[in-house]
Symmetry: C2
Subunit: 511 residues, 2 copies
């Protein structure tokens, strides 16, 4: 190693990473297979294979020889991409993982498997007690890991950084305070407004209609073509829960789920995942097969899925463009649902218990609640968290912010899989994504008139701005750098609050 030039070292590092990429590709495909088509009885073999490949993938990177090689590189002599690769390797693999003793890591990995199963059982039986001891253990492990990994400021920052690099409790407090103070009362105004007979009638009609699955598929493909999803570089399939997965920028796969009585569900899932997919398809060829060749953070990723789903997909001008097609395919106006009704139904605000069913306006409140609970859990590492009280706190917050109190844990603390799988610090990125999206939306509107593009159903200019401003960079820029790059300023939640208030004031005629 001593006699190697930096170029030779980089060549060797890139070789290992290329093999790592190949194994990662196989792992991605096995997961994709499992979720979309593998036969039921194949699951055992698939987990064995995944176990082996994941282990190989880990030990290929996490070993002293490779670590020493990485740390021996003098980054000053590298080009921009290689420099960033070295930085990313150190951060993602050595600084994060290596600080956690292998034994703890193994036990925690096993715990997460059991914990997720127990969560599932608890949810099915609507019995929090089944899940409690596992939740408690997962929480305490995470506290332990924060201590291993270290922190400045709030300990919760360490977890937040895993999903949204560089974001801190300090910034999120400000963000979520705005949401709490501005949106919570605004939502109450909307919800308290009496619905007209026509609104009630329209909703009933839509829910009673049947939407042919083959036609829904056609509609999903039509929508993907509109937003310029590249079918040479990706596919659409079905799965229980919609998701996006990607090998590189030439292999980006998304799923949706079709329900016979719910047209909006499949179409908006498709467009949501389509937004994730465009981000991945637009990543620069130069970095696509490196560890920098994927979306930089959960928050930025979610900003792209939500800008397509909500800001473009539920935009009035866009819906005007697409309504005739929908109407032709599914005969809405024959049932008395005209464009104005359809637009309202597409943007209906309703307080509800389940996060994943929430509309665009109430969604961030669900996240606010989780954020406050998580922050509470991890702000003090030395005291054991009282999981008994968590479900109650959960319900209290729903009552306080949305005016509804979940009667069961299934509708409350047991609804999300995240905590059972140790994903603390993940939720905030969902709300952050929407807020980024609103700020990005305003920035695009400085360059072009979005409504004018959407009334033609033309995404070419919009896509180009997003590709050049965000997508192509992959992990070459941090989330904060990307926001600055495309909007010219730092993140500011006022865009989001204003966007929501303006949009829904109009729809619900609120002064």
């Amino acid at each position: 190693m001593k006699n190697m030039t930096e170029k030779e070292k980089m060549k060797k590092i890139r070789e290992v990473l290329e093999n790592n990429k190949a194994l990662g590709h196989a792992i991605t495909l096995l997961h994709w297979d499992l979720e979309t088509e593998a036969p039921k009885d194949a699951v055992e073999r698939i987990s064995k294979t995944l176990g082996y490949l994941t282990g190989e993938n880990y030990s290929m990177i996490i070993n002293d020889e490779f670590k020493n090689l990485v740390y021996s590189v003098n980054s000053e002599e590298l080009d921009e991409v290689d420099k960033k690769i070295i930085k990313e390797l150190k951060k993602e693999y050595f600084e994060k993982l290596e600080k956690i003793p292998k034994e703890d890591y193994m036990k925690y990995s096993e715990l997460k498997v059991v914990s997720t199963k127990k969560w599932e059982e608890a949810k099915n039986k609507d019995d929090f007690n089944i899940f409690k001891p596992y939740l408690s253990e997962v929480i305490e492990y995470n506290k332990k890991f924060i201590k291993y990994r270290g922190y400045e400021g709030n300990p919760y920052d360490t977890l937040l950084d895993d999903y949204e690099p560089e974001i801190t409790v300090k910034e999120l407090d400000e963000f979520f305070n705005n949401i709490k103070n501005e949106l919570s009362p605004f939502i109450k105004k909307i919800v308290e407004k009496k619905k007209s007979d026509k609104e009630i009638e329209d909703k009933k009609k839509l829910s009673e209609m049947t939407f042919d699955i083959t036609k829904q598929k056609e509609m999903s493909l039509y929508a993907l073509n509109l937003i310029k999803f590249d079918f040479n570089k990706g596919i659409l399939k079905e799965s229980e829960h919609p998701f996006t997965t990607n090998v590189n920028n030439k292999d980006v796969r998304i799923t949706t789920h079709y329900y016979e009585h719910d047209l909006l569900s499949s179409v908006y899932s498709t467009v949501h995942e389509g937004g994730h997919a465009l981000y991945e398809q637009h990543i620069d060829d130069k970095i696509t097969d490196t560890i920098l060749g994927t979306g930089v953070s959960m928050g930025i990723h979610e900003s792209q899925s939500r800008i397509y789903e909500n800001m473009f997909g539920r935009n009035k001008e866009f819906l005007k463009f697409i309504f005739p097609k929908i109407d032709e395919m599914f005969g809405l106006s024959k049932q008395g649902i005209d464009f104005e009704s359809f637009y309202k139904l597409t943007n209906e605000v309703q307080t509800s218990f389940i996060r994943t069913d929430a509309d665009e306006l109430t969604y961030p409140i669900h996240i606010l609640i989780r954020y406050e609970l998580e922050k509470d859990i991890f702000s003090n590492l030395d005291e054991k968290t009282d999981v008994d009280k968590l479900a109650e706190k959960w319900a209290d917050k729903y009552e306080e912010y949305l005016g509804i109190r979940p009667e069961s844990c299934k509708e409350g603390i047991l609804q999300d899989v995240h905590w059972s799988d140790g994903l603390f610090g993940y939720f905030p990125s969902y709300a952050l994504g929407s807020a980024y999206a609103a700020q990005i939306y305003d920035a695009i509107n400085q360059k072009i008139n979005i409504d004018k593009e959407l009334e033609k159903g033309d995404f070419s200019k919009i896509n180009e701005i997003l590709k050049e401003g965000i997508h192509k960079y992959g992990k070459m820029k941090t989330p904060k750098e990307l926001i600055k790059n495309i909007t010219g300023t730092s993140f500011d939640s006022k865009h989001y609050i204003n966007y929501l208030k303006e949009k829904f004031s109009k729809i619900y005629d609120i002064k």
Copy 2:
């Protein structure tokens, strides 16, 4: 190693093989993905990943440490399965591959890629000259490999053994002589018989019908359910060319291809692949994840696909059972195609140039021709094969045995991919499979009345006999042992000749 017990050695060997299985699983899935759904532009990344995984899979086994371990095992002390694993490892990996110098093997692998591309180009342009030099090189490499690997008797035996262990030119000469002497004149009689107006009319009607693809899929699923394909352990999908692939007995995947104007094509492809799939699904749990856990040979595999496709699937009683369903779905009798017409159309004999389009009766003649040519090529290793003359010999044989002479190479020597990919010795197993199938059919008929089962559409007894007699063994028995096991005697082609003559004499009213 010296201090290890045989049990410890076996444990270590099984560990390596388990990892090998995991990589093999990933490789299988990547190929499956490539053929069934991967986006167009993903191909480059997929080949890179396959290259890496295949290399790893190879070097995991082919290395001195593992080889020494395998050869250090005293097989006498092992149970039957482990004994067979050691034998298979030695035969498949060390005795076969190791004798070929790595450099030759690498060059040959590269050659095959180019050669296949050149074959494709030659076929598209119908120009044998493009392919000739590559074909010549592939042939000479195979001769060289035979020399490296050694042979007793005919050199061609060494290649034959790769696809049908233990079969020799001596046995195949007898087999194909029977086909030539008995079937070739019989086919001529049938072909020379004038068709009735009704027969001509029926054929035209069927070819002019349109068969809804969604309904064809339903029909394929119905057929698979009938033959008791287990959908918990497998799936049906679509691809350009139908095929079967398997990870273990709980993950067996098949494809078919739907054509709007050809109902029989998709259904019989499905049933053919379904036969392959049943074989794999029925393999014993004890061996399924070992190197013994798959079909033993091409010939035995083909016997199972063809027994379901032809002997059961085109059987008159079975067609009587299934015709009402087909008729209900596709309205054949409304078009004037009654059961008798349908049965005749399903078993139509027609001389043709293209092997893959051939009917049950003329099919073995296509194989006979390839066998004679290959035998000719490899019987003399020291003389360079004159590939210029091959296309002419090909045409001469079609004229002699089927009475038709291909006018173009596309319809002649360029039709099959096999030779471009170095698959010499492969073709005979196709015909052998049908002949095995006929003998197995007669053996089943000794135990139960197949017609009686098929007229009820009931495959449970048939499947059980095949599972117990053949399927469950995987590679635990050789092809010859399996034939003996299920039929009580050695292979004899008279069953096949008799079966074909009897069936088609009746259909075509030939005395």
